[in-house]
């Protein structure tokens, strides 16, 4: 430690601005599509599905469009775009090949498009949660992930490490590990249970895939991006690089072992389930070290953490993260699992962390970056951005609360051996609440989308020179 890691020599020339813009723009398009799909599906639960009887809008297919859309269409696409900005800045090196970079962008978006068409019009999907992408597209996804890994991520980082001989900044560890993991994990999750491993061993592998997509892609990449954004916006170095080391290595060791907690009380051998519970509890080491590190960093910035909008998104996301991880410490135990497994409690958890944490991180970063990407001095409208923030933040919180209560009620009704339909009627108020908050989230998002568009297209002055980032380790 000790040596200062300063990136102020970075020339902006290494970032391919046009491509970052396109990655982000396409990701926001997919987000809109996925939100609409989720909203439509939520109407099925209040018996008002508007497209009943239309085969290609079968609710099941729409649900899968929603989840794949938010995970692959939005989160993966947006974070690859943001990494195309961060990695050249941190390594002072461009991607290995600009041509391949463009190819990756095009192929990735074609993958999402064909996947959605495959789901909706051909009912082609793979019965693997988060891996529903039709089997014939899987090899292409694998290839695309490998290309992004080598060309955009591992290549520049390795060159930097070899040529400069310096240690890597924490963001780069997270990106490196995430891309080694994700390529292997995609193979393990999408091919083994599909072709070779049946039954509960297959379920164990599937669970590993489910968890590692969120735990070994979304989480490390999201936090890696924040380890860049927060110090840059605050103009203060991260509190302790040592503490971040702890968080990273604990994540690397413990997260892959967590998988089986998605199938607790299933026929999967019990020792596997116990192992995953113990390591899930251990993951709290990661959570608290990371949160502590960021809280200490934010403290140096005084009121910045809520007056500066990018940081406000970040803080809201970090609060969701902390809350959801406290929630998950409960529901990973067998006692609570008995009650909440299979219920809306889990759906609440999934939204609160996928939307409330990691999507908020992306929004925060984009709030900082978007005007700069287009050479504008600021957003088209600041108040629209505030509206977007509050509508989505409140929507997220209310949705989580209502799904949590709904989940507890469903679990109790099942255990009491009431007729199954009783659990449906009892959930109605909470499902209605979800659809209402869905409207809020959709509105908030459309504010944001209009602002994105207007900022990019209206004529404005040139941005001031990029502030001097202060990252030290």
């Amino acid at each position: 430690m000790g040596n200062t890691y300063s990136i102020d020599t970075v020339s902006a020339g290494h970032v391919n601005y046009a491509r970052v813009r396109l990655w982000l723009a396409t990701s926001f398009f997919w987000f809109a599509a996925a939100l609409l799909a989720g909203y439509a599906y939520s109407l099925q639960f209040i018996r008002n599905y508007p497209f009943a009887g239309i085969e290609w809008l079968s609710p099941g297919r729409v649900r899968v469009t929603h989840t794949s859309g938010v995970a692959f269409g939005f989160l993966v696409t947006a974070t690859i775009g943001l990494m195309e900005y961060v990695i050249p800045k941190l390594t002072n090196r461009p991607v290995l090949s600009q041509k391949v970079g463009w190819l990756a962008l095009i192929v990735w978006n074609l993958i999402i498009l064909t996947t959605v068409i495959g789901y909706l019009f051909f009912g082609q999907m793979q019965a693997i949660e988060w891996g529903e992408t039709p089997t014939w597209i899987d090899p292409v996804v694998l290839l695309a992930l490998a290309i992004v890994a080598v060309n955009n991520v591992l290549g520049p980082i390795l060159k930097f490490s070899l040529e400069s001989g310096r240690g890597l900044y924490v963001s780069l560890w997270y990106f490196t590990a995430a891309f080694v993991w994700t390529a292997i994990n995609y193979f393990v999750g999408n091919f083994l249970p599909q072709y070779w491993v049946p039954g509960s061993a297959g379920a164990s592998l599937t669970s590993m895939y489910i968890h590692d997509l969120v735990g070994l892609y979304v989480t490390p990449v999201g936090w890696g991006l924040m380890y860049y954004l927060v110090p840059v916006v605050l103009q203060k170095p991260i509190f302790s690089h040592k503490v971040s080391l702890l968080g990273f290595w604990a994540l690397a060791f413990l997260y892959p072992l967590n998988g089986a907690h998605h199938y607790l009380f299933s026929p999967i051998p019990m020792w596997v389930q116990s192992l995953s519970i113990v390591s899930s509890v251990g993951v709290h080491l990661v959570v608290y070290t990371v949160i502590y590190n960021f809280l200490q960093t934010l403290r140096q910035g005084g009121t910045d953490s809520y007056t500066k909008l990018p940081l406000r998104w970040f803080v809201a996301g970090a609060i969701s993260y902390l809350l959801t991880c406290m929630q998950c410490a409960l529901h990973v135990t067998l006692t609570v699992q008995e009650h909440v497994h299979f219920t809306d409690w889990v759906v609440g958890h999934a939204h609160f962390v996928m939307f409330g944490t990691f999507s908020f991180f992306v929004f925060g970063f984009v709030t900082y970056l978007w005007p700069r990407l287009w050479g504008k001095s600021g957003w088209w409208s600041d108040s629209l951005n505030h509206w977007a923030f509050w509508m989505m933040a409140i929507g997220n919180f209310v949705m989580w609360t209502s799904l949590m209560i709904g989940g507890l009620i469903q679990g109790a009704s099942w255990m009491a051996l009431e007729p199954f339909t009783k659990s449906i009627t009892a959930s109605e108020p909470y499902w209605v609440t979800r659809s209402i908050t869905g409207v809020g989230i959709l509105l908030g998002y459309s504010f944001f989308a209009v602002n994105l568009y207007k900022t990019a297209t209206t004529r404005g002055e040139k941005a001031p020179a990029m502030a001097r980032p202060a990252l030290a380790m």
Partner: protein, 200 residues
């Protein structure tokens, strides 16, 4: 400490070795363990379901041979996957939460050691009831009416309607027959055990 910040350490130890360790514990070992479990006696036991009186006579009118019946179950499963039924229905009974009383015997490994579980359809969300032991819960006409419009049969239901499982005259088409054959096959391999005390 310094070494842990190097690219090579991050990529090989964290990225590769730790994942490989988890793959061994969560993938390879359970795989060996479950592979040793004897699967359902006599393969998938289709004959035992098809031939005796346990199957409604309609299936034997529709599917003349065992091979046709098997093919239909397989096609039904394809539709079950394509409509993402598995995002609303689970296929395992847990040893807790009064599930034995509601659904029937607890799921065991051998039930899933067959090609109908490639990939397995355990599921993670129960919007509707578990279907592991669905074979004798309802009769064939109930299912035909239910897939057409669940709310006709169960007014509180939030299950979608599947009009494309029916032809113009409202009679079930091949897909309608197949999905029904599939759900009415589920769990039939444990038909000799005591039924649940309080079926839902």
């Amino acid at each position: 400490m310094k070494i842990l910040e190097k690219f090579s350490a991050v990529a090989t130890i964290a990225g590769f070795s730790f994942y490989a360790c988890a793959f061994g514990l969560l993938g390879v070992l359970p795989w060996f363990m479950t592979n040793r479990v004897a699967p359902i006696k006599g393969g998938l036991d289709f004959d035992a379901v098809f031939l005796p009186k346990t199957v409604p006579v309609d299936f034997r009118d529709k599917y003349k041979t065992l091979a046709e019946y098997k093919a239909a179950i397989d096609f039904g499963r394809k539709n079950y996957i394509a409509e993402a039924c598995w995002h609303c229905h689970t296929q395992y009974v847990r040893p807790v939460g009064n599930e034995v009383a509601r659904y029937g015997p607890v799921s065991e490994n051998w039930e899933y050691q067959n090609e109908m579980n490639l990939p397995q359809l355990f599921g993670t969300r129960r919007v509707g009831p578990d279907l592991t032991r669905e074979w004798n819960k309802h009769n064939i006409d109930w299912h035909f009416a239910h897939f057409r419009n669940p709310q006709d049969v169960v007014p509180e239901s939030v299950m979608p309607r599947y009009d494309w499982f029916y032809d113009d005259k409202g009679k079930p088409n091949d897909r309608g027959w197949a999905i029904t054959a599939y759900v009415m096959w589920l769990g039939s391999w444990r038909r000799n055990e005591a039924p649940p005390a309080t079926p839902h």
